[in-house]
């Protein structure tokens, strides 16, 4: 078989894509190797991030040079990352499906497309602007009025009582993340709802179901795989979100949330907020431990995305 030069150069450039993913994983593994040796796998469920005594002399532990007392446990990051993303998804999913149905079915087309633009443009807003909005609008509003009210009146709900905090924290982070993933879910759902055969909906109407019963008993069950897939995709997006989280989460250190208002931090936000102090470590172990966090985050999002894409491909979305 003979291939033209054109085809060969196409394949060459196209292979940049898978190569870059492999390189990302390879470089992170290579760079964080000393940290992996030092921390072992248990750093995922131990809870103390401590650079050690930076003025002491480096000691050798497990064959690695580290500062005395240095420990790199990230359980609080694992908890913060997963909790904020899951709560964001729980809030975003019904809203996104509602908005998608509103635009796809309830409105006439001439009105739906300009209004859909509002939702689509929300997806284009840079994450740091979301963070700014969370910082300047959401946190004062939530911290001064909403959270104190909630903690006083919703005490009977587990984790809703207790100190309402300052507004920086788990629920605010989840709220901002929810607004960031709603347009993502909504766009896919709008397309999916529009692509359902009209005959199915008509059959439902013919049986005497009203519009919402058609949505509940026919459309949503039909789109089960798509909904699961796009939810997991959105979860992946929320897990890796950085700037907005840095600005509203409160950047907690070694602190496990005890109610829904507690300050938290996530892996992505932690990398941004801690590199500067990690550079103080003369053995470089702290920077390598941050690389290990990046590796964990990368593998987590790759796994989540692979699952999501497999589901969406089986549902033939895109």
């Amino acid at each position: 078989m003979k291939f033209s030069l054109f085809r060969i150069s196409l394949v060459g450039t196209a292979s940049f894509l898978p190569l870059s993913l492999l390189m990302l994983i390879l470089f992170l593994v290579l760079y964080s190797l000393p940290a992996i040796h030092y921390n072992g796998i248990s750093f995922l469920w131990t809870n103390d991030w401590n650079l050690g005594n930076l003025y002491g002399n480096p000691v050798e532990i497990h064959g690695q040079q580290v500062m005395p007392g240095a420990r790199f446990g990230i359980w609080f990051l694992v908890v913060g990352t997963l909790l904020s993303a899951v709560i964001a998804l729980i809030m975003a999913l019904p809203i996104a499906i509602g908005a998608a149905y509103f635009l796809a079915e309830l409105l006439p087309k001439w009105l739906a497309s300009p209004l859909a633009l509002l939702v689509d443009l929300l997806a284009a807003i840079p994450s740091v602007v979301f963070g700014l909005w969370g910082y300047a609008v959401l946190i004062p509003l939530m911290g001064h009025s909403v959270y104190p009210w909630m903690s006083a009146h919703l005490q009977w709900v587990p984790y809703f009582g207790g100190s309402p905090g300052s507004g920086y924290g788990l629920l605010t982070t989840a709220l901002v993340l929810a607004f960031m993933i709603v347009p993502l879910i909504s766009a896919t759902m709008r397309e999916a709802i529009g692509s359902i055969e009209p005959a199915l909906k008509e059959a439902g109407r013919g049986l005497g179901l009203n519009r919402l019963e058609v949505l509940w008993y026919i459309i949503l069950p039909k789109l089960k795989t798509t909904i699961t897939g796009v939810s997991i995709l959105a979860l992946g997006r929320a897990l890796g979100e950085t700037m907005a989280v840095v600005m509203v989460s409160g950047n907690a250190l070694n602190y496990l949330p005890n109610n829904i208002y507690s300050p938290i931090s996530t892996m992505a936000a932690f990398i941004v907020s801690q590199l500067e102090s990690a550079l103080q470590d003369p053995t470089n172990m702290a920077v390598e431990a941050l690389a290990e966090i990046a590796l964990v985050l990368l593998l987590l999002t790759v796994i989540v995305n692979v699952i999501a894409r497999l589901l969406l491909w089986s549902a033939r979305v895109r």
Partner: protein, 304 residues
Amino acid sequence: MTSSEMQAFMDSSLPQVQRRIRFSLKRHIFHITGTVFIWFSFIIVALAFLSIVGDVFWKALPGLRLSLLTEVSTGMGGGLKNAIEGTLVLSIGSLLLAAPIGIAAGIYLSEFGSGIAGQSLRFLSDVLVGVPSIVLGYVGYITMVIYLGWQFSVAAGIITLTVMLLPYIARTTELALANIPQPVREAGYGIGAGEGTVILRILLPGALPAVMTGLFYALALSMGETAPLIYTAGWSNYMWNGQFTHQPIGYLTYVIWTFINEPFQEAHILAFAAAFLITLLVLGLILMGRWLMIRQLRKRGSYQ
């Protein structure tokens, strides 16, 4: 069934039917709460968008003066000239690097990507889209900034953004080409054109508006990014001197998240002014991309 029997049957069954179609409270409540929830969910999303844009615009208003464009920032005040320049250098630089590679990958996926290699390439690029941008930034930091010794530099920032943009451009190009009907390709090969000629001279010009839309989106994406740049491009209060390595550069999104933490009113206004500029640029690019797309669809007569 005779007509009298029929009449008798209908007489006997009518009252029953009327009894069954009675007002169902449960269904009624379901319908009302559902409708209210659906209206509420759209309204809250629309309000969030308007609140973000409105708040940024309103708080940026006192800072929108000409000196933004003519002065460099001073750490807590001044203008945004250096940041605007940096944003343009980084985003346009990364687009120039990513566009040829991404478009080539898109061509491969669309024209020759039906086999196992193409399928896995498509899958991997979808997965690559989901990689958090901070991870890209950190890898850029440990490879280019530290290992290659470029320090915080324009080149490290541009290359990191390029890796981020590649899968987007590849996928939009693929979709754009896949929308061109098969007979167009057959006509090309029929008059004796080779693979390269058909793709570069016939398919690509035809798909150009859609490809351009993808590039506009990619440009918007790279302008709005912060996380991959913090530890690759660094930050500088000065104008760029044209060097690609060993030379950090400023950009608008950095101003937003650092200046808002300064204790000065002037710094806050500057942060909002930067947010306003970046939102304006990003939304403008997205709208321009959509307009291009719709105009092309109208020309083909496929847009209602």
